[in-house]
Structure formats: structure tokens, C-alpha cells
């Protein structure tokens, strides 16, 4: 019986990191557990709280405006070692957009350089213009393409040997040059794709959930779900982008 299973999900600073429907990602994680009879315990952690990361199986960091991201960055640096230990212990970490940039060593914003969490060997600097629009990538972690929306000023550069989440089929990705999007390192996944990311990309949601399940219960096995509605939305957008109906 899987009914006894449960996962603890940490939604970091939703009051500050909520720029692009990030609540949709959390909702998707919770529903996909619930539909499998696994209890989802979602805890919203506010900026004034100090989360105990060791209690969680999955941590989600969303995107915010530059001002909010600066506050969040400062706040998280105080718990850098704990977050590192969490990921090192196999906890799943999903970071989108601004949260993705925080995963690296640094984010150079003109004169100022923000120190990052250093969880993945990558750096970000700000470029012009902002990279805005629909995006589709192919990734090894799921059978379907990953579709969504990107809107970022930062250009992210992966260190040697760091695996991207996937290769860009339409849109810009990490830096608009390498044709790579996002980064994966162990149980950490970072990406610029919002839209939000998870509802229309059930394979990504399940990849993250499988890592979390492994962390808690030692098995990555997830019962299959009927994803026809999600996959229809995914393929409608993918086809539209591939047909060239969208300008970049």
C-alpha cells in the first residue's frame, strides 16, 4: 500500500518569489502526489522564518524581481551550508528563473555582483536585451519536449562538465548562444522555464517527485497517471512553435 507514503515540500518565500505563477508548480507537485495516494505536506516558508531543510524532501525556489531576489539571496546565504547538505543528502531541489540564478557561484548585475549558493558550477551575468518569449527544449529527463515561457535578463554560463537540462528547440535558453537550457546536477534542477514549468510538463514534475520519493522512501517508482490533458497542451504549443507561427 502506498497510502502511508508522504513527502514534505518546502515552498521558499512565496511572498517574494511569485512572479510567474509559481504557485502552479507547487499545486502540480501536490496534486500529482495526491492522485497517487501519497500525502503531500507543503510548507510555505516566509522570509522571517528559518526553515530546517533536513526535514524536507523537496525544496522549491521560484522567481522574483531583482529587488526581491536580492533580499532572498541574502536570506539564503545564511543557510548555504544547510542547503548544500540537503542536496548532498539526495533532497530534490527545483529552482526556476531567479531561483535558478541563485544556484550558481555569482550573478553579476552591472556594477554589483551577488554571491550565489554555489550548489551548481555556473555563473550568471546580466545581458541585453532581456530574453523573452515562448520556449521549447528537448531533455533526457522526459519523453515529451519541455515547453514554457522565459523572461530573463541574465545569461547563465555552465561550468565544464555541468549537464544542461536540455537543448533549445525554440527560444533562447541559458545564454542565447550555446543552445543549452537549464542545468541538472544530481538531484538539483534549475531552469529559466516558467509558464509555469510543471503543469504542462508532467515528465519534469515526476522527475522531481521521483528524486524526492527516493530521498524519503528509497524508491523512485511512481504510478503512471493519465496525463492526456497535460500532454495535449504540451504538444499544441510545441507544434505551434515548431511550425514557426511564433516569432522569437
Amino acid at each position: 500500500m502506498s497510502a502511508a507514503k508522504s513527502l514534505s515540500i518546502c515552498h521558499l518565500f512565496p511572498e517574494a518569489l511569485n512572479l510567474y505563477g509559481d504557485g502552479g508548480n507547487i499545486l502540480t507537485l501536490a496534486k500529482r502526489l495526491e492522485w497517487r495516494g501519497i500525502e503531500a505536506r507543503v510548507q510555505e516558508v516566509s522570509l522571517t522564518e528559518r526553515p530546517h531543510f533536513a526535514d524536507f524532501d523537496l525544496v522549491f525556489i521560484g522567481g522574483g524581481s531583482d529587488r526581491e531576489q536580492r533580499i532572498v539571496c541574502e536570506r539564503l546565504l545564511a543557510q548555504k551550508a544547510e542547503l548544500k547538505a540537503f542536496a548532498g543528502d539526495g533532497g530534490a531541489l527545483l529552482a526556476v528563473c531567479g531561483g535558478y540564478q541563485l544556484l550558481g557561484h555569482s550573478y553579476a548585475m552591472g556594477e554589483e555582483t551577488l554571491e550565489g549558493l554555489g550548489l551548481i558550477d555556473l555563473t550568471t551575468d546580466r545581458g541585453s536585451p532581456r530574453l523573452i518569449g515562448n520556449i521549447a527544449i528537448q531533455s533526457e529527463i522526459c519523453a515529451h519536449p519541455i515547453v514554457g515561457y522565459e523572461n530573463h535578463g541574465g545569461r547563465t554560463h555552465l561550468g565544464a562538465g555541468v549537464k544542461p537540462l536540455g537543448t533549445v528547440a525554440f527560444g533562447h535558453g541559458n545564454d542565447d548562444k550555446t543552445g543549452e537550457e537549464g542545468a541538472i546536477s544530481g538531484t538539483i534542477l534549475g531552469t529559466y522555464i516558467h509558464g509555469p514549468l510543471l503543469p504542462k510538463n508532467p515528465g519534469v514534475a515526476d522527475w522531481v517527485l521521483a528524486r524526492a520519493l527516493e530521498h524519503r522512501h528509497g524508491t523512485a517508482e511512481l504510478e503512471p497517471l493519465d496525463d492526456s490533458v497535460e500532454l495535449a497542451a504540451n504538444s499544441v504549443m510545441y507544434e505551434r512553435l515548431m511550425r514557426g507561427e511564433e516569432r522569437e
Binding site: 511572498e15 517574494a16 511569485n18 512572479l19 510567474y20 505563477g21 509559481d22 504557485g23 502552479g24 499545486l27 502540480t28 496534486k31 524581481s65 529587488r67 533580499i71 523573452i132 518569449g133 515562448n134 515561457y149 523572461n151 516558467h194 509558464g195 509555469p196 503543469p199 504542462k200 490533458v229 497535460e230 495535449a232 497542451a233 499544441v236 504549443m237
Partner: protein, 456 residues
């Protein structure tokens, strides 16, 4: 008027006549043609206004507020130029003034980012700022940017006073900075404690000055309410126009307006709208009063208000009532959901989302709408939903995760067919249908209903 302005106005008028002759929309192009010849034409056109201009901006409610205000001025016997249909950038506003024959007032809605072009030329007596919500991040950028543009616009038109919603911390952030440049500020807001609203504060939880989390004595909806910062002096200002005795029902809204000293000014009643409409009408009333429009004229304008512009328009199609409304961002959608839930009948909803350029290409905001509030009604069999628009599949996914099955339909007629499949009893009155459409989705739905249904 100089020669250049006269020539460009003539070219704009000719374009307008030509477009009308061939039955095309003349709300933008004439202004564009004229502005190409004289980019400062609006400044010349303004000089023929005998009293001046009022500009209305804000994320939600511009078109309705502008229409109400312009009609109130007309009821008071004043002549008015207005961009009634909501063409709200510089070209649209210029188009609306091309045929001016010395009107008393120009009452214009302006896109928030266009204010920086419109205000320095039109030099309105007043700018009405209704609210600021997150909308179209891909096009407008973050709210900080919209605020910067409004402050810049006011600084570039020093004779313009600001009529601002004092209950909105984001609008007050603009007012506070503009006041530093010397802008005169008049604030309107609600002056009574309201019961807790069903929605959450989606944005602006932080102080505009110091960044601390704002506290609320009460909240109306979204971030609007009696706010104050626990760490500094940023708080709701003293109100110059106050609404009291507020009633919001499925039959419409009613409230009393008092002045800054608490003296009675008027009773305002309208047969439409929810809580958001209280603010729209209060803002319109404040502007009308400052324009010298008597309260009786304002009431007459509301009593006869029927703009037929797709905002809360009622239709009848066979045995079904259809309510058409614009909903183009989370706050607008959440207010529409409140409006639907206030209707106690079993009902249906058709959510139509396009992602054309004018809508914003990024529709991630649909995940910020609290559709979950509808799930209980849906489970009880008292609400059915249909998904539509270019992003119908995304709407369908959103409904699935909110706990609702939504078939997909391309038109209102298709949506009704999908509903009829689940309605065994074809006799008698069918469930009312709320068609909630974002910007570019509204016009095809309205055209279809204007053609096929009876307007109520």
C-alpha cells in the same frame, strides 16, 4: 494652431473619413498618420478645449471609469471628447481629438506606459490613477517600471493633479514620489471596515518605502485596503473622497460618498459590478466633482449607463442568459469569480484566454487566479466550466488542477453545445453562462453574441 499641426490634423481627418467610408475601425490609424506628420499634434489640439482634460489610468477599470465620467460630464451639459472604445495609447487619444470643435473637456483613458507620452502634450488638469496590478509582465515589465513611468509622466506635466486610490499601496507609491516633485494629490478610498475578502494579497505585500511587510486594518480585495507599514510612516493617506455604507450584491453596488471632513456629497448606485466597481465609481465621482459636474448629473449618467462594450454585458440566447465580461489578469479574474459566486443560481462559465500581443504572450498568470474557489460549486454540480481561446488547452490543464473537467470550445455557440450535452432538460430556463474573456478574446465573443443573441 501652426501650419504643421493644421496639415497633420487634416491628414488625420482624411484618413478617418476614408476608413469610415470603407467601414473600418478609425480609432487608431488616423492618429498615427497625423502624429507621423506632427508628433506634438496633441499639444496643439488641446488648446481648443475650453476647460481642459482628465486622463484615467490604472491596470483594471479604465474603460468603464472613463465612460462613466465622460457621460456624467455630458449629463451636466458639457461637451466632451472621449476615446470611448478604449484606444488608449497616444495615437488613439489623438484620433479621438481630431474632430474636436472646441469641446469643454477631453476625458481620455490612457495606458499606464503611454501616460509618459500623453501627459506632457495633453497637460490634463487631473490624472485619475485607479489601481496597479500585475499585468503583462512580458510587455509592461515589472510593476516598479510602470510606477517609474507614471512618476516621470507627472513630473513632465507639473500642472496635472493626481486623483489616486488611497487604498492601493502601489498607486500611493506613485503618489508619494509625485508629491515630492510638487504634484497635487487628491485621495479617494473606502472609509469603513469591510469583512475579510476571500482572495489573497497577490503582490505589494511590502512597503513601498522601506520594504517591511505591510499590515492591514481591513482589506477590500487584492492589495487594496487600509494599509500601514509597521516600520515607517507609509500608510493609507487621509481621504478626500470617502465611500461608506457599501453594499455589493448580485444586483450591483451602492454607497454614500463623503468629503474629507465627513460631509455628505452623494449616494451612488449602479446596477452592475462588484467591489472593484465601488472604486471605479468613487474615482469617477471624485474626478467629476473636481470638474464641476453636479452629483445629480453623475447619478443620471449611471442610471442610463449601457456602453455595450463587452464589459458586464448581458444577453439572452434562447433559454439562456449570458453575461459577457473582460477578465485579463489575476485580479480581474478573481473579482469576476466573486461576482459569479454572488449569483446563487447553478451556472456555467466559459473561460477564454488568448495570447496575442495585446494580451501578453505569457499566460503564466492563470496559475495565480484562485479558480480553486469554484471547485466546491463544481463538485456540488452547481457549476460547469468550458475552456476557450488560443490557449484553451492551458485553461483546461488549469481547470484539471483546480479539480474541474473542462471541455474545449472555440465559440460561445460551441460552449453552449458542450453544456447542453450535460443538460437533460432542454425545457425551461437553462443555467446562465458567464463568458469571461481576456482582451483579444472579448471582441470575437462580443461580435458573436451581438449577431446571435438578444442584448439585454
Amino acid at each position: 494652431m501652426g501650419l504643421r499641426a493644421a496639415i497633420s490634423r487634416r491628414a488625420g481627418r482624411a484618413t478617418s473619413r476614408l476608413l469610415r467610408l470603407v467601414g473600418r475601425n478609425a480609432s487608431q490609424l488616423p492618429g498615427r498618420v497625423a502624429l507621423a506628420l506632427d508628433p506634438r499634434l496633441l499639444a496643439s489640439l488641446r488648446t481648443s478645449l475650453s476647460k481642459g482634460a482628465v486622463v484615467v489610468c490604472g491596470t483594471n477599470g479604465k474603460t468603464t471609469t472613463t465612460n462613466v465620467l465622460a457621460r456624467a460630464a455630458q449629463e451636466a451639459g458639457l461637451s466632451v471628447d472621449c476615446n470611448w472604445r478604449g484606444a488608449n495609447m497616444l495615437a488613439g487619444i489623438t484620433s479621438a481629438m481630431l474632430f474636436d470643435k472646441g469641446a469643454d473637456w477631453a476625458v481620455m483613458e490612457a495606458d499606464e506606459l503611454s501616460c509618459v507620452h500623453v501627459l506632457p502634450q495633453l497637460e490634463p488638469r487631473w490624472l485619475v490613477l485607479l489601481n496597479l496590478f500585475r499585468d503583462q509582465l512580458d510587455r509592461a515589465g515589472e510593476i516598479d517600471h510602470v510606477q517609474d513611468c507614471l512618476v516621470e509622466a507627472l513630473a513632465a506635466s507639473p500642472s496635472t493633479g493626481l486623483i489616486v486610490c488611497g487604498d492601493d499601496p502601489l498607486s500611493m507609491g506613485v503618489a508619494r514620489r509625485a508629491a515630492h516633485h510638487g504634484t497635487k494629490v487628491v485621495a479617494f478610498g473606502i472609509d469603513e471596515t469591510l469583512p475579510p475578502p476571500p482572495d489573497r494579497v497577490p503582490e505589494a505585500r511590502f512597503c513601498q518605502v522601506c520594504g517591511a511587510e505591510l499590515g492591514y486594518a481591513w482589506r477590500a480585495y487584492a492589495q487594496l485596503g487600509d494599509f500601514s507599514c509597521p516600520a515607517c510612516d507609509f500608510a493609507r493617506p487621509a481621504l478626500d473622497f470617502r465611500a461608506r455604507g457599501i453594499s455589493v450584491t448580485s444586483a450591483g453596488v451602492a454607497f454614500e460618498v463623503l468629503d474629507g471632513q465627513g460631509a455628505h456629497l452623494a449616494k451612488v448606485e449602479a446596477g452592475f459590478g462588484g467591489m472593484y466597481m465601488v472604486y471605479n465609481l468613487l474615482g469617477a465621482f471624485a474626478a467629476a466633482t473636481l470638474m464641476g459636474v453636479p452629483a445629480e448629473a453623475f447619478s443620471r449618467a449611471l442610471a442610463g449607463y449601457d456602453p455595450k462594450n463587452g464589459r458586464l454585458q448581458h444577453y439572452r440566447l434562447a433559454n439562456r442568459e449570458i453575461v459577457l465580461n473582460l477578465a485579463k489578469n489575476p485580479t480581474g479574474f478573481n473579482q469576476n469569480i466573486s461576482l459569479m459566486l454572488a449569483d446563487e443560481r447553478p451556472k456555467a462559465a466559459f473561460f477564454v484566454i488568448n495570447d496575442d500581443y495585446n494580451d501578453g504572450k505569457d499566460i503564466s498568470w492563470i496559475w495565480d487566479v484562485d479558480f480553486e474557489r469554484l471547485a466546491e460549486e463544481a463538485r456540488a454540480g452547481r457549476l460547469r466550466v468550458v475552456a476557450g481561446g488560443h490557449r484553451a488547452h492551458d485553461v483546461q490543464v488549469r481547470m484539471k488542477y483546480a479539480g474541474m473537467d473542462a471541455p474545449i470550445a472555440r465559440t460561445v455557440a460551441e460552449a453552449i453545445r458542450a453544456l447542453e450535452a450535460g443538460e437533460p432538460d432542454a425545457e425551461g430556463e437553462a443555467d446562465p453562462l458567464y463568458a469571461l474573456c481576456n482582451y483579444s478574446a472579448l471582441w470575437p465573443a462580443k461580435a458573436e453574441l451581438d449577431r446571435e443573441a438578444e442584448a439585454l
